[in-house]
């Protein structure tokens, strides 16, 4: 057991779990369950199409530039690994290949530096 293992406040944790469970189901049910066979407004669909490519990069960017493991100091091996994952993913369109390229780059550079 390392000191890194922390325990979340139980109320917070269960609020998040239950809230996300209910919220995620609501998001999935809203159209197929409630709208049924009616059509959706175009402007809404047009925005929903970009949620994944808009929100996931916003989540990842700070983790790449200011990694938690280095106490927020920019880190060469991690930046290079992120770049390699993105490049291989763009070229191959293959999720597994991109993950392997990123992980390989990270381990190789951490080994060389460390």
């Amino acid at each position: 057991m390392t000191a890194a293992v922390q325990q979340f406040d139980q109320t917070t944790l269960w609020t998040v779990i239950i809230g996300l469970a209910v919220g995620s189901f609501a998001l999935r049910f809203v159209f197929i369950g409630l709208v049924g066979s009616r059509t959706m407004p175009g402007w809404l669909m047009r925005h929903l199409r970009y949620t994944a490519v808009a929100i996931l990069p916003a989540l990842v960017t700070p983790l790449v530039i200011w990694p938690t493991a280095t106490g927020g100091q920019p880190d060469g091996p991690r930046m290079a690994a992120a770049a390699m994952t993105l490049i291989v993913g763009l070229i191959t369109k293959n999720v597994i290949a991109a993950i392997l390229a990123g992980a390989g780059t990270l381990y190789a550079l951490l080994y060389l530096v460390g």
Binding site: V5, Q7, S37, M40, Y50, A69, A82, T85
Partner: protein, 238 residues
């Protein structure tokens, strides 16, 4: 093709989804491991994964909770990550909207990246499918992958905190998400949305309560939608 039963479509769904074991297995395991490292008990991790059933949102919530973000921000951000399943739900509605409500409710719960991606291609190609056949195919795309996802989470959660720090698992999440994003950047609009999101996320890093994530995500969505609109206008005029 008239003799094709819903049952055979179920098995086609199972077969078509088999390669996704390679994605759901490692992702589920990673969630289990990271949750255990964050101090979640086995029962908490499993309840999380079985009730929420949305990998990217689960990872987001876990990450923000570790950054001590306020509970409301954790919920809103994770649900924002999950907004795309609302789009999947909307996009499948013309094909499954006529099914009984209880079936639609179950289908809603199982609407995830891979079941949507497989089903929408199948529905668009095989236009002669009946609603029960479509529902059977959709059930098949989850019949194998959903149990694999839960089992993998369990294995990861049990292995959990025993994984040494030298494995650099802190960076597994960024790599997994970047690998997911890259193949999605198919059009100029998708690319513009992602670049906007990155730039705004950097500029907004100082905003408290991790609100920068929502600001950047919203900016990316608006830019993506705007560029798409501009591109369709240009096509219409030429």
């Amino acid at each position: 093709m008239a003799s094709t039963t819903p049952k055979s479509y179920f098995w086609k769904g199972i077969r078509d989804s088999a390669p996704f074991i390679l994605v759901a297995g490692p992702f589920g395991m990673l969630f289990g491991v990271l949750a255990a490292e964050a101090g979640l008990k086995l029962v908490e991790t499993m309840t999380f994964t079985v009730t929420v059933f949305a990998g990217a949102a689960q990872f987001t919530a876990l990450q923000l909770m570790q950054e001590n973000a306020p509970t409301l921000i954790v919920l809103v951000s994770a649900l924002a990550v999950n907004l795309r399943v609302a789009m999947y739900s909307a996009s499948m509605t013309p094909y499954l909207g006529a099914a009984p409500l209880w079936q639609r409710a179950i289908a809603a719960y199982f609407t995830v990246d891979q079941s949507y991606a497989l089903s929408i291609v199948q529905f668009e190609t095989d236009t002669a499918m009946t609603v029960p056949q479509r529902m059977a195919y959709f059930a098949g795309t989850n019949g194998l992958i959903a149990p694999v996802w839960c089992l993998a989470t369990y294995v990861g959660a049990v292995m959990g905190a025993r994984i040494p720090e030298s494995w650099a698992l802190d960076f597994a999440l960024p790599i997994a998400f970047l690998a997911m994003i890259a193949p999605m950047l198919r059009t100029a609009a998708h690319l513009a949305a992602a670049i906007t999101s990155i730039v705004v996320a950097i500029l907004a890093a100082g905003i408290p309560f991790n609100l920068g994530l929502l600001v950047a995500g919203f900016a990316g969505m608006v830019v993506g939608a705007r560029i798409e609109l501009a591109m369709t206008h240009r096509e219409a005029t030429t």
